[in-house]
Symmetry: C2
Subunit: 223 residues, 2 copies
């Protein structure tokens, strides 16, 4: 679905180059509620919320090449704070905003819809993960999700430049506990995170504990 762009789309893309901007880790790329379509040219970011007492919950990771701050085609969307996790480069993509309001669904528009839905699905998974998975299950699930999102297919290692604090804030765990889960996985030869790279050693075991296939014929709920 990302294939069939029109020449009109191409123009949009070309306008992007103008506004490249560099940020250091921790920078607020976009405050909560702000509008403005952007692309993450390089580096990793996340959307998050921070509570009054400092507790942080990360909603989603934003990968290099992905966008943020744009409206879903046809309507505004909840817009949490976006923060850089590594050094990042961004470009404005103001064109996107208008595209989403256009008439005929063209290539770009459909692509944006698809992305929006993926984000949506991921958010539901996130809710299940936080609400009903144990710490090891959350970690396993997250690692596999990351691999898939990175398009690392069956690859056994892939970049994951996130500190344990970030992963903990994503998974609703304390850093210390996350660290212990990771050590467990490491000593069991399941998976290892080292210097920003994930080394997947026992994929089957990981998938097992990830409680994958989270959509197995819903039960009738009561009786």
């Amino acid at each position: 679905m990302l294939a069939d762009f029109t020449s009109h789309d191409i123009e949009h893309a070309q306008r992007l180059a103008a506004s490249r901007q560099r940020w250091r880790p921790g920078s607020v790329l976009m405050p909560a509620g702000a509008v403005g379509a952007h692309l993450l040219v390089s580096g990793w970011a996340c959307s998050q919320r921070i509570l009054g007492d400092g507790r942080r919950q990360i909603f989603d990771v934003i990968l290099p090449g992905e966008g943020y701050g744009w409206d879903a085609p046809g309507g505004a969307v909840a817009r949490p704070t976006v923060v850089a996790l590594t050094s990042v480069e961004t470009v404005e993509a103001g064109g996107l905003a208008s595209v989403t309001e256009g008439g005929e669904p063209d290539g770009l528009r459909r692509a944006l819809q698809a992305i929006q839905r993926e984000e949506d699905v991921r958010r539901l998974e996130h809710i299940v993960r936080l609400g009903r998975l144990t710490a090891p299950e959350r970690v396993a699930h997250f690692i596999l999700e990351m691999r898939q999102r990175l398009g690392a297919g069956g690859a056994h290692n892939f970049p994951l430049p996130l500190t344990q604090e970030v992963i903990a804030d994503l998974l609703g765990l304390s850093v210390v506990h996350l660290n212990r889960v990771l050590r467990q996985f490491r000593t069991e030869g399941v998976v290892e995170l080292r210097r920003g790279v994930a080394f997947l050693q026992d994929e089957r075991a990981l998938a097992m504990t990830a409680v994958l296939a989270p959509r197995p014929a819903e039960r009738p709920a009561f009786r």
Copy 2:
């Protein structure tokens, strides 16, 4: 925003009456992934997922008068299973599906967008609740959210016909623990749930523990 419907919208509404349907609690109103706009004429429902081993996570409650199964204006949306929590009556609202694709944003279309965004915001709150709030905080937060959604404004009691099991599955807690939190609130004279009604006694205390104002100037995250 719900005010300015066109006569065109009214027609849509009139077509609804045709397909009224009655369901008992526990019925699957709509299996995961299914499409088809519906309205909950009466009764309460929820969207949920159930894991292979029976663990359940509820994503959201659907109140009487609210809709489900429709596409957000302009694009498809993740579609979890919808289940009746009480006896419910539903009507098909097939018209909505087409409205969302229409050209000019009319009253109904804008209303749907607004609803969609509210759902969106609520889902983010839900993530924070599950990831970073303690059990008492989750419960307090949930009760206040319900009051607001019910339009019960400053009312001190309002209907909440949910079993503790449902609330537990919503908040990612065990029934037993939820029950204990509720007892705590009850004996402290904060709030009481009895026979499907919530009796709010110390609103201030509840709001306090709900960690309300969850959006207080985001910190720079790293230094």
